[in-house]
């Protein structure tokens, strides 16, 4: 493969302490060198990066639902990874709640085969904690690890009992593999469909209190302390959970956490307006109230929160076009994440650009122990080129995802994706961003 030099642009590579004008030389699918005014050898393709664009290590979304196998009408590995690269992600970690559940090497290998065929974003499967995600006995975790799984979770449900969670955390210590937890105390959650607060109350929707999440997080953090296992709190939504995470970190428990863009952008007033009972604002955990949203923004700013992940949860139109309490939980997120992060975090002064790169790239790579997260010499040439000032109008009709369930349709945001490079190959180029690859 020939050499390509990305010339100009601002390189933001927090893992190497870089933030400034650098050239990036790619060779054979890897980063060859990053430096100022690199010499151009004969045969090197030079790509001029328009000023104002940002070159950073490839973004990694550690929480997506690719739906394959079993629910290909919602999404496939091919459409999901097309959505990922269009959203600036060079890698995604996909949840095991497929049909059949990814609780054995066969399913893991199937997903990886589909990912190789699609040949877009890297796909890191996440295995189930328990066989069939039933919460009864542990899945064959070592086998999952060998087949390529990077973490385990029973996402969609919490790990059913404290004892099973203890065993999962203990067992995974031998692989340095996190247990990702969907925190939800089931009896407290009941048959709730929205955040337990004023808006759900006024609309007659059954509530899910923030404590349903934080109680389970406290259990898991305590167990991480007991076992020295790694627990990662998925899609944290409640301020009480953030307090629990801070408490765990202060006690040196191996706890990390992620938030989704929709939880730090939206609040539960969306239940009533602009579209009352819009099923595209129904997700689990639910949109919380302003105090929670503000707490999450503070947690992003002060470093308590490790990761931004989308919880990309595609659902078919027919499934969402029903009564609110019958609709499935979840929204798509891969193609709105970067714009929301720029508009609501970076331009709003909540986090710096290097900090955003940590949240979207450095930390997910570290937590999952996968390649990426830096532009170090010899690292895979997985690079996201971002356009912080691009004016973007979100359009679900133009999205690559097979499903259109996003509440952000029509939103005008500042910041977007210019191009996505995986293994030195441009897999997505946004013609509107003025870049030619």
């Amino acid at each position: 493969m020939s050499k390509t030099l990305l010339k100009g642009g601002r390189v933001v590579d927090p893992a190497n302490g870089r933030d400034g004008a650098f050239d990036v030389l790619m060779d054979g699918g890897r980063i060859a060198r990053v430096g100022r005014d690199l010499p151009v050898d004969a045969g090197t393709t030079v790509v001029e990066i328009p000023s104002g664009l940002v070159i950073c290590p490839g973004l990694i979304d550690m929480h997506v639902h690719l739906r394959e196998p079993g629910q290909e009408h919602k999404e496939t590995v091919a459409t999901g990874t097309a959505s990922a690269v269009a959203g600036g992600f060079t890698a995604v970690a996909c949840m095991p709640n497929t049909n059949p559940v990814n609780d054995n090497a066969g399913v893991t290998e199937y997903i990886l085969k589909k990912a190789a065929e699609a040949n877009l974003a890297r796909v890191y499967p996440i295995g189930a904690v328990s066989r069939g995600q039933k919460g009864e006995e542990l899945a064959d975790i070592a086998e999952l690890k060998r087949a390529g799984c990077v973490a385990i979770t029973d996402d969609g449900h919490p790990v059913s009992t404290a004892m099973l969670m203890r065993r999962a955390l203990e067992y995974t210590t031998m692989f340095r593999m996190p247990v990702i937890e969907h925190c939800e105390e089931q009896t407290l959650r009941g048959d709730g469909v929205a955040h337990e607060g004023f808006h759900a109350s006024a609309l007659g929707l059954r509530g899910i209190p923030g404590e349903a999440e934080s109680i389970m997080a406290l259990r898991d953090i305590a167990l991480a302390g007991l076992t020295r296992g790694m627990v990662h709190i998925a899609h944290m939504s409640a301020r009480q959970t953030l307090d629990a995470v801070r408490w765990g970190k202060s006690r040196k428990a191996h706890v990390t956490c992620e938030v989704t863009p929709h939880h730090f952008v939206l609040t539960d007033d969306m239940l009533g307006a602009p579209i009352a009972y819009d099923t595209n604002v129904k997700m689990n955990p639910p949109l919380r109230e302003t105090a929670d949203r503000d707490a999450l923004l503070a947690g992003l700013a002060d470093g308590s929160i490790d990761v931004i992940a989308t919880d990309h949860a595609p659902h078919h139109y027919d499934e969402k076009h029903v009564e609110f309490d019958r609709a499935p939980f979840g929204i798509t997120g891969l193609e709105t994440c970067v714009s929301l992060c720029f508009d609501r975090l970076v331009h709003a002064g909540v986090v710096s650009l290097p900090r955003l790169v940590e949240l979207l790239s450095v930390n997910p790579a570290r937590i999952l122990s996968v390649p990426g997260g830096s532009l170090s010499d010899g690292a895979p040439a997985d690079i996201s080129i971002l356009a912080p000032d691009l004016k973007v109008t979100i359009s679900v009709a133009r999205m690559k995802s097979k499903s259109k369930n996003s509440p952000f349709d029509g939103w005008r945001l500042r910041g977007g994706v210019a191009a996505t490079i995986v293994g030195g190959r441009a897999v997505f180029v946004n013609e509107g961003a003025g870049i030619q690859l």
Binding site: F198, L205, R206, A276, D318, E323, F324
Partner: protein
């Protein structure tokens, strides 16, 4: 008026008064020998009921017939919904037959909003989940105004299962928008969040709540709430929150007692109170027809431009 009546929030205070005034005229029709006017002749009303409801469906049907509308009742059993077509598809099929109104009763909050986005027909919410039951609140207001000649400044106490009550939500919105002082009373397990933001005083003391009340509105307490551990027993509920003659005596001498029905005698209300001189429970039923006629008539007119 908006195209649909999905909740009391769709109405301005002026529109509420216009409906109540129109209902006065409509009530006179019910006292005639020939209880029928040609107003909605040639119009089709579909009563689409996903929950069994003898009272509300009958009331709507009589109202429609008195206005000469052609009425069609579709009762859908919940069990068949689970395996059958979606609400959206049912709505599209009904819409294809070009009805002018769809009266919807549904177990899901917001079902009317979904229908409203699909249908050109005017939608009247006849009760959606635990959200709203606007015509019930309108007939309650009509009944209150008849007895008290006003609504503004009255102390209205609503007692019972506040959490699961669509009657509560509609009444709170209506009564507060017309300036009543609204109190809500029930066990803390059955009080929804944010009542104060709706301008309601919440109390767990029935004696405090009913003191000097002009109107006491009782809500049904459902047997199944025992299973959710909302209250320990029906007996304890009655001794703690049930409306007894002694408790009524704490209210104003001319207090009226209301209940949207169906009643649980001996659970939320003593028979002596339900059948007593203060009770206007059967008047509420009678007024329901006139108020629903008024709503049908008013909605048949101009609609605000939808955006």
């Amino acid at each position: 008026m908006k195209k649909d009546l999905l909740g009391i929030g769709d109405l301005t205070p002026d529109e509420i008064y216009a409906i109540l005034d129109t209902a006065e005229a409509m009530r006179e029709i019910g006292q005639r020998t020939i209880k029928k006017v040609p107003t909605l002749r040639g119009k089709t009303v579909v009563n689409l009921f996903y929950e069994p409801s003898t009272r509300t469906r009958t009331s709507f049907e009589i109202a429609e017939k008195r206005l000469s509308a052609d009425t069609l009742n579709i009762a859908v059993a919940q069990s068949s919904v689970l395996k059958g077509e979606t609400l959206a598809d049912t709505a599209l099929n009904i819409e294809a037959m070009q009805p002018d109104f769809i009266v919807l009763r549904h177990a899901s909050s917001g079902a009317g909003h979904l229908l409203s986005r699909i249908c050109k027909s005017r939608i009247i919410n006849a009760g959606d989940g635990t959200h709203e039951h606007p015509t019930q609140a309108l007939l309650d207001a009509f009944t209150i105004r008849e007895h008290k000649k006003r609504i503004e400044g009255l102390k209205v106490v609503i007692v019972g299962d506040l959490l699961h009550s669509r009657v509560l939500r509609s009444n709170v919105l209506l009564l507060t928008s017309l300036g009543a002082e609204v109190w809500a009373c029930g066990p803390p397990t059955l009080v929804p969040i944010g009542l104060d933001r709706l301008g309601v005083r919440a109390s767990t003391s029935i004696d405090e709540a009913v003191a000097d009340a002009d109107v006491i509105m009782m809500l049904r307490i459902q047997q199944e709430r025992m299973h959710g551990a909302f209250v320990p027993s029906l007996r304890e509920y009655f001794t703690t929150f049930g409306m007894t003659v002694e408790r009524v005596a704490r209210a104003k001498p001319d207090v009226i007692i209301m209940h949207p029905g169906p009643m649980n005698r001996g659970v939320e209300i003593a028979s002596e109170v339900a059948d007593g001189p203060y009770s206007v429970i059967l008047e509420q039923v009678a007024n329901g027809v006139a108020v629903r006629m008024a709503v049908l008539y008013m909605l048949a007119g101009e609609t605000e431009t939808e955006n």
